[in-house]
């Protein structure tokens, strides 16, 4: 009997110990907050990807120290958007999340973010396109801090002059290929299943569009441009650059090898964004940046403009503090400059751009290349575009009939838009 009593006592003791250990983890948010309330204050949790987490940390700490609150920056390295939506549904999400502006549509339909109210003078400090990008259904949903868009990066040793048209680019590229100075005409990534983002400047130059715009300037999911005669005409021009035509666009150029092929000096031209510059610098390539050229006699080539922004979580535990951080702290140039130093993308805040422009001439060139760009649609319907549009592009580059392919893609997309 002694043993059993001993056993029971021991079990109870361990149970209390175990629940104590587990409980202390679980309860740390509640009592700890209360406990520190006298000394410090509430807690702000920020979710960002790995790179930005590192850049944000010192600023978050400063914000915390000046204001007597605890700020925690947590890195979510994969599927940040999905994880955020799921977590905020469970009530375990962060107060602030950092991400691309084209998430807004999905975040809003899931009730995951709240609008941000910026004063007029705060708004006017931002690049106009950036503010437009984070505006959805007439509401401002995030505070932009960086912008990105595609440009034409060329190896100035191989191609000293910036081409004015695609035809000019192809002619130079072909000459270099004939002289065995390069093995490819143009590095524009496609892959077997296409890449809608990278082909978009050429698509717009040839007259195509994705969504029409409504009266208020928002994209209208009911006016789908894919499958319309304009889009077919556009892809007929793109087909001429494909594998059965000039050979400038190839499915063998993939997201993985496009930048490497350019830095390996196998092609003189690369269509890519600010993220490619680090590699080009590492490879010691003498390069220059110019807008993506359009077709001769066509419209302007308009790249997508993407914006990175701070959002206030709708189901966050500390919304007032989150609003304060996003609306009144991330709108300051210092933070934008620090984020630029973490990853060189043009800051959305004009004052911050002016600060870093001098030391980095590439920024102004990227901004110039994106000046006529189109805001990447944030409406949920855009999610239905990427896959079918990319596949149609790949098929057409490979020699499929543009009319048939694009009509089918248009049908698939419109079938998926609710």
């Amino acid at each position: 009997m002694r043993i059993r009593t001993a056993g029971v006592v021991a079990v109870l003791g361990l149970a209390l110990a175990a629940s104590g250990c587990g409980g202390s983890d679980d309860d740390s948010s509640a009592p700890a907050t209360k406990e520190s309330a006298g000394a410090a204050g509430g807690k702000l949790v920020i979710w960002a990807d790995d790179k930005r987490t590192a850049a944000l940390k010192p600023f978050a700490e400063t914000f915390g120290q000046t204001n007597g609150v605890t700020v925690e920056v947590q890195a979510v390295s994969k599927d940040l958007q999905t994880n955020f939506v799921t977590a905020s549904q469970q009530g375990s999400g962060p107060d602030v999340v950092v991400g691309a502006h084209d998430w807004i549509g999905n975040l809003v339909q899931n009730g995951a973010i709240d609008p941000v109210q910026l004063a007029a003078d705060q708004k006017s400090g931002f690049n106009e396109t950036a503010v437009k990008a984070v505006t959805f259904n007439g509401q401002l949903y995030g505070v932009p801090y960086a912008m990105e868009n595609l440009a034409l990066i060329r190896n100035t040793e191989l191609a000293p002059e910036a081409p004015k048209t695609i035809e000019e680019l192809v002619a130079t590229g072909k000459k270099l290929k004939a002289e065995k100075k390069a093995s490819e005409i143009l590095c524009l990534q496609s892959g077997q299943n296409g890449d809608a983002y990278h082909i978009y400047p050429l698509y717009t130059s040839a007259g195509g569009y994705l969504f029409g715009t409504g009266a208020n300037g928002d994209y209208d999911p009911k006016d789908l441009g894919v499958g319309k005669p304009e889009s077919i005409a556009a892809f007929q021009r793109i087909a001429k650059l494909g594998e059965k035509g000039e050979g400038a666009l190839k499915r063998s150029i993939t997201p993985e090898n496009a930048i490497a092929t350019f830095t390996g000096k196998k092609c003189a031209y690369l269509v890519s964004g600010p993220w490619a510059i680090a590699d080009a610098k590492k490879a010691n390539i003498s390069y220059d940046i110019s807008p993506v050229p359009g077709f001769a006699g066509g419209k302007e080539a308009q790249p997508f403009v993407g914006v990175q922004a701070f959002y206030v979580a709708a189901k966050g535990k500390n919304k007032a503090l989150a609003q304060e951080f996003v609306a009144n702290y991330t709108t300051k140039p210092d933070l934008a400059v620090a984020l630029y130093n973490a990853e060189p993308r043009p800051p959305a805040l004009t004052a911050a751009l002016d600060q870093v422009k001098g030391s980095d001439p590439d920024l102004a060139k990227f901004t110039e290349a994106g000046k006529n760009g189109q805001v990447l649609p944030a409406i949920p319907a855009m999610a239905a575009i990427w896959d079918p549009f990319g596949k149609a592009e790949a098929a057409i580059i490979g020699g499929a009939d543009p009319a048939k392919t694009i009509t089918a893609a248009g049908k698939t997309i419109s079938g998926q838009i609710k």
Partner: protein
Amino acid sequence: MSTKLSGPRSTRTSGRGPVGSGLPRTVRSHVPITATGLVVKVVLLGLVAGIAIWAAFPLVEAGKWVGLALLAATTAGLFYLYLTPRHIPAKYLLPGTVFLIAFQVFPVLYTASTAFTNFGDGHRGSKDDAIVAIQSSSVQQVPGSTEYTLSVASEGDPVTGPLVFLVTDPATGAVSAGDAGGLRRLDAADVTVAPGGKVTAADGYTVLTFGQASTRSQEITDLVVPTAGGALRSSGLSRAYEGRAIRAYDAGCDCITDRESGRTWTADEKAGSFVAADGERLAQGWKVNVGGENFSRVLTDPNISGPFFGTLLWNFAFATGSTGLTFLLGMAIALALHSPRMRGTNLYRVLLILPYAMPSFAMLLVWRDMFNTDFGLINNLFGLGVDWFGQDWSARATVLLVQLWLGYPYMFLVATGALQAIPRELTEATSVDGASPWQSFRAVTLPLLLVALAPLLIASFAYNFNNINAIWLTTEGGPFPADNPRNGATDLLITYTYRLAFGAQGAEFGTAAAVSIFIFAIVATVSAISFRSTRKQEEVYS
């Protein structure tokens, strides 16, 4: 604690004798209690209790009483079972059963229940969540209204006192105090205003620091000060604006009304959305039960059911091909290395296991790049220009080839093990009887191998049937016919449905769950049939 365990320690020294005078000898006599056993039991039960208490807090907090009752019943059951000397078989069965329920039965039931809902992006939460989201996302600043500088203050105690907004008009510098009762002007003599307009002190109020204010975040967000044009709301902790919700829910008509345009969206409980008369839907919907709609959609929607059978056929070919080819190659190598005349078998074995030791995730991507038309190793090495992933049959062959490379080491391993279990006397006997090596392999070795390996082959088939990585990381289902971007030549059912469920306008978990139930039915049927035939085979050879 350890001092109390002197009892069992003393029994160990006395050998295998019965323990503790008070214990019923009949039951325990053949089960000696050791100190280790007791400690393990105490620790495990302690952990169970600890986990139960840890899990109970959130359940109590959320008021989930059914869950709490279930938790209490399970824990009590566990304790009873392991503290009573009876029910010996149940003691062995229970841990497995608990894990089976937690990790198999529960996810299957959850998937099945999801299949009957419209759960997905835009339909994740409850109707109340959707209404809150619609109303709060429609709050707009009143055009031309003032933007105030805000200080959050309280009347009395900073932690419990009622909250007040102290707002400064930037144009006039006038300070007002606002709470749910409205705005009232404060005398300029009673307040201290810092440059920039922020109130730092006011008679009768305690101005809260950010730290103090942030602990009352929810109250601050909820506090609206009614004004003539709308209501004063906080934007963070240092600014306030006059805003109003353009859209509001009316319980009377169960609809959302837009105050500016006058449009109404009525709740459609079947679709889980607010729908206007012209069919326009508000983006924020809620989760509802849709009955068998997801299932009937899979069967009747020509976009889904059209390419279904072609995909199913290739899916079978892929699973059979992956399993069969890896088995043939793995077995052939195992046979070769099993031969007593073979030298350096250990070295070969190590080399052959290598592909198995590498992470298949990375290897699939490497293989994809090796098959690149212009830059890939394969074409460069052999001087070819084959567009491997661009044509239906070459893409299929490539996928199978990659599968072969990834999968044969496993088959080699299990075949080696099974071969070593077959007595050499049997094959020696056949050769004495004058059978050729081939005859002896066909008649003796292969059947005995299959008896051991057939269940593994069936498992491998079931795994490859749903092998999403093998396709998604190499071809993504492509190449796609020019006129159909929905369904490619190497698509498996799982990749195809993944695209269906997550490629459209946001994720549709309901549809995905319905399709996975169909796939489950197919795999279960195939496995059941194969197991039955294996059993027959075993009866023949044993």
